[in-house]
Symmetry: C2
Subunit: 239 residues, 2 copies
DNA sequence: TGGCCCATGTGGGCTGGCGCACAGACGGAT
DNA sequence: ATCCGTCTGTGCGCCAGCCCACATGGGCCA
């Protein structure tokens, strides 16, 4: 099974939503890249050279505090892109981006992106709308961190992650996940145990699989649905 | 003392940073408006008609959870604008914006803003850079909510608020402030008491004045400085 | 097949922030 | 000058989530 036959840029929903003529303008510059768990796409202050459009990979954007604690501000999967600072003008951000699920994506050179963005067509419009959705997502995360329990946040994270997955289970250790959410590993272990007992999820060393999304939704806060709804409002072509 | 003699659009730092020719294109459409404590500039889902450029007023953007709890995601003063969803394309947002400090600002009709934004000049560039700064601010707030104590967050809030003020004290009750930060009123009372004792702030019924910003900084988390630094990096013309 | 590393399970003690309840006191309005 | 509503002070008990320490066991590699 060759790589060429199984991968296509239109697996990324943003790219898929572009009108054909607009897509053709950049398609030659789209470069398929493997994205491996732990790959650091950018670090604070580092100049970006590419924007990434994940297809099967998932990326986490997060902040690191001065004491070393982490907090994921949002995830990016096939519904989005990484590197909005390229067209927003800042070229870099104070946050970090790391691959959270191994997979593939397409990257686009800074120049090509700017060129396409600058022509004020559908691509610009789409990227700005996606950025607005991203803002809503980050803001929702802030409220979620402030008010919701670990159980709620964990459910929310699981649900939004399966939405970004074609299928199958996640290769994530509880340790890593706790790090992303900025909570103790033990707290995750405890909640995960409850969820397994309830039949919502299954897991073994380094793997989590969602068995009952509906059940999970009863545990999640409204943030999951709110973010999804806003993305659908802004970019109805997606999902 | 007439209103005309004491108010000018260039009291807003974004407007002031525009090149003269660019500023002239919109200046005729800028309308001075009073902004009173509690004024709701927009609610979730409500179609915006104007963008606001505060001069002496301060606005809070916040989320309300399904249980009625609030969480401020960011504030906007003379350094920024309210209503980015107008040029981002979504026209509305799931958040709310309310005036937190009485003052004035200039508003600009949706049409005029779009027209100026669409010409891809310095104004577009500036608004996008400001939006990126806003994203950084919201993301930092998320991390802050996750990891920092009420004392740290309170200090941070006070410091970033005085930065938006020409001078003088704040007309804010502890109750309102607790609501914004999404914490108990009693928690604010307690920390405020400690700060007063330390000589950092003074207050009486509904008023807070910052006496020792340097002292407050020793209590604040890095978020205050980080946000300020990022704004300075993206828009060096401002402060 | 055996060994080792790292992910997961479990328990105990601690504390920041919550919820509730009520007392005092400032200050605008009559 | 008085009154009353609202803002501020304070004291409980409570619990989610923290930090720390250690036991167990799965899975990869030699």
């Amino acid at each position: 099974m060759s790589v060429l036959s199984t991968h296509s840029p239109i697996q990324n929903q943003l790219l898929a939503a572009l009108p054909a003529t607009e897509f053709d303008r950049i398609s030659a510059d789209l470069e398929l890249v493997p994205m491996l768990l732990g790959d650091m796409l950018y670090e604070p202050g580092q100049q970006l050279r590419h924007a990434y459009f994940p297809t099967t990979a998932i990326v986490s954007l997060y902040y690191v505090t001065s004491t070393g604690a982490c907090a994921e501000t949002t995830g990016v999967g096939r519904e989005g892109m990484v590197g909005i600072s390229l067209f927003m003008g800042g070229n870099t951000t104070p946050s970090s981006a790391v691959v959270q699920r191994t997979g593939h994506g397409y990257r686009l050179k800074h120049q090509s992106l700017l060129l396409a963005f600058g022509s004020a067509g559908p691509l610009q419009r789409m990227l700005l709308l996606y950025t607005q959705a991203l803002i809503a997502q980050i803001a929702q995360t802030a409220a979620c961190y402030r008010h919701h329990s670990i159980e709620q946040q964990f459910s929310r994270w699981l649900l939004s992650t399966v939405d970004r997955l074609p299928a199958g289970d996640l290769n994530v250790t509880q340790e890593l996940l706790a790090g992303l959410l900025g909570v103790r590993r033990e707290s995750i272990t405890e909640v995960a145990g409850r969820f397994r007992e309830a039949g919502y999820i299954g897991y073994r060393r380094g793997h989590i699989s969602i068995l009952d999304p509906i059940g999970l939704q009863t545990c999640a806060c409204e943030c999951y649905g709110a973010v999804k709804k806003e993305l659908g409002r802004l970019l109805p072509q997606i999902a």
